[in-house]
Symmetry: C2
Subunit: 331 residues, 2 copies
């Protein structure tokens, strides 16, 4: 297995990216080689020398930054690190690409370099969300702001396929539609029609509608929605967690009694913050591309990026792309 | 000032509703009379005798329950408590109606009994959201799943008007559009066009777009969105808060050290839970109706319902309906 790394993408690139890549190379024996794409001079200095034989550097001077317009930047920078890394997957020189750079640029590079699976209308981001009842797959988490019923049906099928890989040992997986009420008659015209389509698709173990307040406690494994709603859910969740912990910290400093309580609870609070931090999960695959492309959070440190590579390894090992191809074959 | 109460609406009706109403009657001298609408025999037993002179009971045997289809129930139960209470506002016999019953039924009764303000296309629910940076008004919080640019513009104007009343002492109020990115070019066709409309409306102090992760920390006062997105934001927020506290409780019971820490921090945690519980704010007005109609949470206890009545008093005292009428006059 060969993994291509966009070594220049992300707030902490290339330092933390290369460190995460080297750690993954040490940890996973089934990674034959890692291809680091980026500025050769910078990358050479960061590579762990003991792993030199399993690392290849593909030099490029161009990078697409977070604030560039993805499609425009893609057209203008044909040799951007994310583009070159994605091209390696297309050419069969790598089995997966992992990046912490601009998600939009990664999506565009995925569409134009790797291409879509035949029959898939729109790729979707599938973000694993840590919750009280295990990890949920939220898809689409932001790639498509406007979607059709057919798109949602494909997101459901692809999300279900990904969930089966991520939760290998779990049987009875369930897929739900994010809506503003649990009843079949709730929602927009789109969600009402999607409800019917998901219920009638016998490949999808459809649970029904789910509301925002049940996202963290539901037994459901896959949460389907358009990318606008997915973005709102994900960011509201992140913001709520952050908001509560900020308030908690402020309050805990307000009296000696609370300070003492805080000291006693510190390890427990740290654990919870870590559990509920969507960033610690690592990465989100772009489902529907004809190759594995893993999106990591922009501010990934080496551990987060390591987890992103781990996810790429799992997706390659368990044939994510082939499984999605099989799942969408019309009978 | 006369307030009509739907005494039969809500999970804890009529007991907690009547108690909250009596407490409000004691607390607010500017309430001349409270009209309790519901089952006379039940209500008579619950009324605080010392307040008897300021309480009138209007008997009706019909109630619309939470799981009934609002429009259908409205047609079939012409004397439902929420309908009769709303009619009192229409007839000028009450200045406001407050209910913890079915929101859908209250909206339908509002539309057909009280009616809309001339020029307002669609009424919206405006929910006060407690955050680290004060209370934010989220509108529409669930009345309209599908909206136009014009609707969003009116929600912004009405939400801004309500915010001015609720935050009487605050200057420099700001209105933001909930979107999946901060840039002007982000979002759906609808949110992109709404961005332009809000920016060009010189009556609206427009801040720009806001993302889910900034909802609790932004200095903005009014958050505008369609009712589908508003419902998702509100419920994801509720679910996140609940999820974290559940995990916290479980963890705290897992060792003696943590148990001790929990005892020390108990008052502080209780405070935070109360602060972040959207239910404790009390009520949400239906903006755009030609009268004051306050929606309370279905599981309101007497304190929550008291707060809902307090909000009704403020809306009447500061002429919410007149102010909205003035705000939408085209120049």
């Amino acid at each position: 297995m060969i993994i291509a790394i966009d070594a220049m993408g992300g707030d902490n690139a290339p330092q933390e990216i290369v460190q995460g890549a080297c750690e993954a190379l040490s940890a996973f024996n089934n990674i034959e080689k890692m291809i680091l794409v980026g500025d050769q001079a910078q990358l050479e200095k960061l590579v762990d020398l003991s792993l030199k034989d399993r690392i290849e550097i593909v030099h490029t001077a161009q990078v697409i930054s977070m604030d560039e317009h993805p499609a425009q930047a893609y057209r203008e920078k044909k040799e951007a690190s994310i583009t070159v890394a994605s091209r390696l997957v297309k050419e069969g020189k790598a089995d997966a690409v992992v990046s912490a750079g601009s998600t939009g640029a990664q999506l565009v590079a995925g569409l134009f370099e790797i291409g879509r699976i035949r029959g898939i209308k729109r790729p979707a981001i599938a973000t694993p969300l840590p919750t009280l009842t295990g990890i949920k797959i939220l898809t689409d988490a932001g790639a498509n702001t406007e979607v059709t019923v057919k798109n949602l049906e494909q997101f459901a099928l692809m999300g279900y396929t990904f969930a089966k890989i991520l939760k290998g040992n779990k049987i009875d997986l369930q897929v739900a539609l994010v809506n503003n009420g649990t009843e079949e008659t709730k929602g927009t015209t789109l969600t009402q029609e999607a409800y019917t389509a998901l219920r009638n698709n016998r490949k999808i173990p459809f649970y029904g509608n789910i509301e925002g307040n049940a996202l963290l406690t539901t037994p459901v494994d896959v949460l389907v929605c358009d990318g606008f709603t997915g973005n709102v859910v994900l960011k509201t969740f992140e913001g709520s967690v952050k908001g509560i912990f900020t308030l908690l910290k402020n309050e805990m400093m307000s009296s000696l009694r609370y300070k003492l309580g805080a000291v006693l609870l510190k390890p427990c609070l740290k654990d919870i913050m870590k559990t509920y931090n969507p960033k610690t999960v690592g990465g989100s695959p772009l489902l529907g591309l004809n190759g594995v492309s893993i999106v990591c959070h922009g501010n990934s440190d080496h551990t987060a990026f390591f987890n992103g590579i781990k996810l790429a390894v799992e997706c390659v090992e368990y044939h994510l792309v082939e499984e999605i191809k099989n799942s969408i074959v019309e009978e």
